[in-house]
Structure formats: C-alpha cells, structure tokens
C-alpha cells in the first residue's frame, strides 16, 4: 500500500515514527505550521520554527526516503495577540520561496474571536497576493460548526480566492457538506477523541463521495497516531473497499490537491 500523510506535525514526533511511516508505505509527509503547546514569546521564536520546517525537518525526513513539505503561518491559537501576529506575518515571505513550502497554513480559527478573524483575513491576503495554496484549521469540538461557517464566509468574500486551491481540514459530519458544497477540499483528521475515527471517516466517504477529500493523522505532541492513515486504509479494506478506491483516497487525492503547487513532486510510488 502507498499513502501520503498530508498533515503531520513531525517536529514533535520521533525518528522512530518516520521509520514506521516509511515502512507502512508513506510516500511523502506534509507539515503545516502549528501551535507548540505553549505560546512563543516573540517573532524570533517563529523565525527559528520556520527554519526548522524548511531546513532541518526535510533533512530528518530524507533519512527515511520521505519528501517533506510544509505550510507557514501563525497558528490561530496564537492569533489573539494581533501585534505578534503582524510581526510574524512580515517574516513569512522570507520563507515562502523555500523549495518545500506548499502554501499558507494551517490558518483558521480557534475560539472564533474577532482578533482571530482579523489574523485569518491577513493570512488569506498573504496567500492570495503570493498565489499560495491555503490549508485551514477548523476549531475544536463545540466551536467547529460556527468557526467553519465563519471561515468559509471569509474565503468566499474574496473573489480572487479559488476554493479548489483551499483545503478545509478537520471536517466532521456536521461541517463536511458545507465545505464540499462551496467547492473547497475537505480534510478528515483521524484523532482518537476530538475529531474523526477511521470508521466515521469511511462513513463520510460513503455518504459524501471520494472527490476533493483526504484523510490525515495530524499527529503532533498530543494523543495522536502517526499511522492513523494506513490503519484507516486497512479498515476500508476490511469494509470491502477495493484497492483502487483506497489508493484514490489516501494517495491520489492528496497528490491532486498538492500538485497545484509547482513545488510538489509526485512521488515515484511503489
């Protein structure tokens, strides 16, 4: 089996995870910028993080034959501080020309506050002005439905934003339809408690189809499973899905979306 991990926070994972993913058939890993679990104290902290994402982490992944791609932003969890966010936004362009950068992400909302909305809009402007793909984080739990609607409204309000170049991540049963109906891509995150289980993700595929949708582990420093995607693929097989269908969801669909960036190279596969 071959698959792509389209959303993994590998800076917080071990090299053993890279090895396990490669052995499970991973062909490429893509890492959006995110919250470190604590608030960084300055823009310099983000500068170092962006260096890690564009220089160090690709080298670490390459030890296991894995191409490493990344996305840049200040995460919505740190967007309440507008001044810090503005400062970080000014250093992002310096990194946008790095060979492994696919776009701006994971931007979005966390608690659906006004400042978060302001910083989201600034990121969307940055992506639009630099012709970057966009990867969007939708809020957790009780905040997801409202936040997803607010995010879609921001993106749709700018006629220069093309929905097919934006992926709205962490969809669940109550948000996937609004995302797909508006022409965006949808990401399903396989998280043990707070997002989708493998079975629910497979249910969503059965109900809403296999176009413009992918699955990811979003593995990070919290309770998460780096092999969640191949495990879900195994569950799809158990449910009777054929190999071609599984390959489309876990391999071809991520390629279709990310190939919209000239920096993404289609893996040689197996």
């Amino acid at each position: 089996m071959r698959y792509i991990e389209p959303h993994g926070h590998m800076v917080s994972r071990t090299t053993d995870d890279y090895r396990a993913m490669a052995m499970a058939g991973c062909q490429a890993v893509c890492e959006p910028a995110f919250w470190a679990g604590f608030d960084r104290s300055s823009a310099q902290g983000f500068y170092d993080y962006f260096c890690q994402l564009t220089q160090h982490e690709p080298r670490r992944a390459s030890m296991f034959g894995l191409p490493h791609y990344t996305w840049l932003c200040i995460n919505p969890k740190e967007s309440e501080d507008i001044a810090l966010a503005q400062e970080v936004l000014t250093i992002i362009p310096e990194f946008m020309e790095s060979p492994n950068v696919l776009g701006i992400g994971e931007i979005g909302l966390n608690k659906n506050s006004r400042n978060e909305m302001t910083v989201l809009e600034k990121h969307v402007d940055l992506a639009r002005d630099n012709d970057q793909l966009i990867l969007v984080h939708t809020p957790h739990l009780e905040d997801k439905r409202k936040g997803t609607r607010l995010i879609l409204d921001v993106l749709k309000s700018d006629s220069r934003i093309r929905p097919e170049r934006c992926i709205i991540d962490h969809v669940e049963e109550h948000t996937v339809k609004m995302v797909l109906d508006d022409g965006f891509w949808a990401g399903m995150t396989l998280y043990p408690e707070t997002k989708c289980t493998a079975n629910r993700a497979i249910d969503i595929l059965e109900v809403y189809g296999d176009e413009r949708i992918w699955m990811n582990s979003a593995c990070d420093w919290g309770v998460s499973v780096p092999l969640a995607v191949p495990q879900a693929a195994q569950e799809m097989k158990r449910r009777g899905n054929d190999a071609q269908y599984i390959d489309k969801v876990v391999y071809q669909n991520p390629i279709e979306f990310m190939s919209q960036s000239s920096r993404f190279t289609i893996p040689e596969g197996l």
Partner: protein, 91 residues
C-alpha cells in the same frame, strides 16, 4: 456498499461495548457527589438524537454539542474547547 448484516458482523460487538461504556459512564456520574453541569445536560440531550430514526444521527449529536451562535466573540480568553456549549438551551 455492504449489506446491514455485514455491517453488524463487522461492528456490532464494538458498538455494543461502546454503548455499555456510555451506560457505565452515566451510572458513574449518578454515583458521584455534587451536581453535573451544562456538559452533562448536552450529553443527555444528544442521546435523544439516537432515536431520530434518520441516518444522520452522528451529525445531530455533533450539532447538539455545538455553539449555535453566528457572530465572532469579542475576545478569546481560553484556548481549549470543552466539548459542549454553555450558551445553548441546554445550559
């Protein structure tokens, strides 16, 4: 798509175990001292979605736990979500 018997063969025991876990959780809450809060009110309300008879129960449960408001809040004072919304009819 698999038939219903096939789905039961694959998932009945898993769902049965999860259902018993929910029952045990509610028993645990009942045995404990003090009072519940808006989270448990939302939980009990969400259970009603299971009896809807429609094939959108998961969506209904999620909506029961969701913030129904539409406008951004003035300021984020916490980072974490708790899984249920304080400002609903369940509160």
């Amino acid at each position: 798509m698999a038939d219903q018997k096939n789905i039961l063969d694959l998932y009945f025991l898993d769902a049965r175990a999860r259902l018993i876990d929910i029952a045990a959780f509610m028993d645990r809450v009942d045995r404990a001292n003090g009072e519940t809060d808006f989270r448990y009110d939302a939980f009990r309300e969400a259970l009603k979605a299971l009896e809807s008879g429609q094939a959108d129960r998961a969506e209904r449960v999620l909506l029961e736990f969701s913030d129904p408001s539409e406008e951004p809040i003035p300021k984020a004072t916490v980072k974490a979500a708790c899984g249920a919304c304080l400002n609903t009819d369940n509160a």
